[in-house]
Amino acid sequence: MEATIEKQIKNAGDLVHTAEESLLEIEDLTITIDSVKKDLVKQIDLSIKAGEMLGLVGESGSGKSLTATALLGLLPSSLQITGGTIRLGNHQITSLSEKEMRQVRGKEIAYVSQNYQSFFTPFIKIGKQFVEVIQSHSPTKKSEAKKIVRYWLNKVNLPADRVFNSYPFQLSGGQLQRAAIACAILLRPRLIIADEPTTALDVLTGEKILDLLRGLQKELNCAILLITHDLKHVMNRSDEIAIMYGGQILERGRTCDVYQNPAHPYTRLLFQSRLQLSKEVTKELRTIYGEPGLIAEKGCPFARRCPYVFEACNEIPQIKTVSDAHWVACHAAN
């Protein structure tokens, strides 16, 4: 009894500590296509505190998945980080060697992807792949590793024995995504990157997956970066959100602040054009002009679709503080 209380206190202490200092700190990150010198991600700043969830929202081509790949140090060689830094705890990810980075991956940063069907290698039994992860990070006896795997499979409400001995194709989508989450938390990472974890799943199943993720996060006190194209996935769950467009972050802040007072036209329009169930059926939906591929080369990337565009939008907007912990990059906002 005392032990658990002690733990609680310790956890609380952690929280206080991390409220000041964030676990993950991305500063000025720029990712460039080597061959044509085009920036796909431009000078973005992000941070996540331990035990919190950051929702990174963006449409296709916004650079959100690329950012995740950069965090894992798995950018393809044609793309390069040409500026900025990524820090996770004490690790300066951008300056780690490939070997050091490998040890960070899986142990400190875990990854859950959208494509649950192809998350595990299709012709190796799930249990074996879990054991492989454990043994890749620390020499562990197989029986010992098995025990750990069983523990976490149970934790995500899967029949541990059956799943352990199954091939990936023998599980349903929901089960696979649970297994993927179990695999992610296997080594108690400090950060989980979940890249559209529910997009390919049914609505109800997806909901359960997100709840599970949220629950585990609380328990493990880890940070989650939830990448999604859909605001609704993050609004109820994440502590902070960041809205990305054309490789830049247009707005970021505490979720409730952004929701109550969206400062960027894009954020506002995204909220307004969302289809919502209501007693009163709307006659016509509010729309945003153009498509996500329409990215302004210069200045504010949203300028070509923005109804409030004016001359100044040719320049990259300064980041303005809307309120405490709520920032926006827009000339029109004040």
Partner: protein
């Protein structure tokens, strides 16, 4: 699993049927009289009676379908008739030569694998850089060079100029090196490209990214997670091209005076020794089907998903 075996057995049946009708028809269409061939071979004075007797001995005076039926019945008992030239049973002759050919092809296969896998993997992990270009050029050469010409060049170099390897005959390992390399090389470089393509494909799968994100070591990613998916198309193509492999073996056997099945077949062709040719074709057909059955079965070992796909059929 049973499904595949059934499918292949059915194929074997079709192959034997088609091949038997095919060779049987050809034999009947063939110019010249086999009776004369046989009698000439025995270097006797040929009389009309002799001919007629032999003709009825061989059953050539009966209607075609009866001849075919009889021939098939014999075939079912592995009786392929007797060689016109040596008078020995064709089956025995084939088996004797088969051993020698298998020796050659096994060795060639071994050379092929030991070139193809390292070259393919090297090309894949260096995609776009010089090892990849080298493998590409080698593959182009391999696919463009007539293998008998390659063999001739090798003989010229190693037998005539350097005088370190024999150019013909069998007996020792030094005898097998040149023919096996000639046969194996042209296939090896092509398979290396296939393996490279397969590896690049499987390395771009999401599960590879997921594996890296779990912090797996790169060699494990390559050899344990990617390789298995990459090897499937290579095996498939191998099954499909086993025929050309055997065809290549014929040329190589002639070139290096290797007394295997291929040499036997070519000798038989020049001697119009039809039963032997028939036997050779049938044996080759069976061999190809069996290799393809093995290829199919290897899928099961490599990819457990295939079981399920099949159930869905």
């Amino acid at each position: 699993m049973l499904f595949i075996i059934r499918k292949r057995l059915f194929q074997l049946f079709i192959v034997l049927l088609v091949l038997s009708i095919f060779t049987f028809t050809l034999m009947k269409l063939a110019p010249g009289d086999p009776v004369l061939t046989i009698l000439n071979a025995d270097e006797m004075l040929v009389t009309e009676e002799d001919q007629a007797k032999l003709r009825s001995d061989l059953g050539f005076d009966q209607p075609l379908y009866v001849q075919y039926g009889k021939w098939m019945l014999n075939l079912a008992q592995l009786d392929l008739g007797k060689s016109y030239m040596t008078g020995k049973p064709v089956w025995d002759e084939l088996m004797e030569r088969l051993q020698i050919t298998i020796e050659l092809t096994t060795f060639a296969l071994f050379i092929m694998i030991s070139i193809a896998i390292p070259l393919g993997v090297l090309a894949a992990i260096n995609a776009g850089r010089w090892p990849d270009q080298v493998s590409r050029i080698l593959a182009l050469i391999g696919a463009s060079i007539p293998n008998f010409w390659l063999g001739l060049i090798l003989i010229y170099l190693f037998t005539f100029k350097l005088q370190i390897l024999p150019s013909s005959g069998i007996g020792s390992y030094s005898h097998i090196i040149l023919p096996a390399f000639t046969l194996g090389f042209t296939f090896a470089v092509v398979y290396a490209r296939l393996l490279r393509a397969g590896l690049l494909q499987s390395m771009s799968e999401d599960f590879i990214l997921a594996g890296r994100a779990r912090g797996l070591k790169e060699w494990r990613i390559l050899w344990i997670h990617a390789f298995r998916a990459a090897i499937l198309p290579v095996i498939t193509v191998f099954g499909l091209s086993i025929g050309s492999f055997l065809g290549g073996a014929v040329v190589v056997e002639i070139l290096f005076s290797w007394p295997g099945l291929g040499s036997l077949a070519v000798e038989a062709i020049f001697n119009r020794d039809y039963p032997v040719i028939q036997g050779y074709v049938l044996l080759t057909g069976i061999f190809v089907v069996i290799v393809n059955l093995l290829v199919d079965l290897s899928y099961y070992v490599i990819d457990p998903r295939i079981n399920r796909k099949e159930e869905a059929l």
